[in-house]
Symmetry: C2
Subunit: 164 residues, 2 copies
């Protein structure tokens, strides 16, 4: 995903406008300071309003807004539950769509450990059944692991390049 031709390092326009860009749409959905942190809580199993609020120290109005947005976008779902002798409450649980963000969050965590923290973080990601440590990697269609430097991009056939 570097420049396709290293000999012409300067491109004047992106190959696709941001309105058609999958990445740009994803940034719209989860690309703000709080949504990522709320999803982090969900992955850790912290699903209740006040618990999330206590962990993140986020204003109530913002938390309400972000939870509603993540539910509306289908990343979280409001799930009723009840504990013994208590009333029904709602927890914000990851949907399939939300859980699929794990690869992104794991990759981002690794990046941070390498380039910000400069060492392993306080939590390991492991395989639930084998116990082996897990990392996010780039893999080709023959399941061969490739490096970031190997990755580049290509206009998909049938898509018209809007570059002037």
């Amino acid at each position: 995903m570097s420049n396709p031709d290293p000999s012409s390092p300067l491109r004047r326009r992106a190959p696709i406008p941001k309105e058609a860009c999958a990445l740009a749409m994803a940034a719209e959905e989860i690309g703000d300071r709080w949504s990522l942190l709320i999803l982090r809580e969900a992955f850790y199993g912290v699903m209740r309003y006040d618990d999330i609020r206590a962990d993140l120290d986020i204003p109530r109005s913002v938390l309400s807004d972000r939870l509603a947005r993540l539910v509306a976008r289908g990343c979280l779902e409001k799930r009723p539950y009840r504990e013994a002798g208590d009333r029904t409450r709602y927890a914000y649980a990851l949907t399939h769509k939300g859980r699929d963000l794990a690869t992104v969050l794991i990759a981002l965590t690794q990046w941070s450990e390498t380039h910000i923290i400069g060492g392993p973080g306080p939590v390991d990601i492991i395989d639930r059944t084998t116990g082996r440590p897990i990392t996010a990697m780039l893999v080709d269609d023959a399941d061969q692991i490739v490096t970031v430097a190997d990755a580049t991009w290509r206009q998909r056939p049938g898509t018209n390049d809007t570059t002037s």
Copy 2:
């Protein structure tokens, strides 16, 4: 990276406070609406101020601020260049740290294609030398591909759980 014990789906506190969380730090650096999009431009090879501005339609003041921040954090570097018969200018190029975000951006693009667009996007990520399509995946330490559902987390030995 789901809950470690599916039978107790409710955790009251995250295993680590956000101040010590690698993910939270990464969110600080690139978790805003514009930084991700600016990095997208950089990956496509669009590196000049006015080109980025034209692609993203971002206010100049915000672009200046975000570029300076990304340079200060070491994701981009200001690199002088000059075209024939023109004065020296500066381009914002990915550093090693910035380029390493490719795995995150590719994973996020894939997530968007699956869960937002609902089909392949207009750009393919491929291996520069083999031409094979590339995806971001979770891999264990024996290079076996694992699913998102297999991934869970564990407090790293020696780290003290701050959960009350």
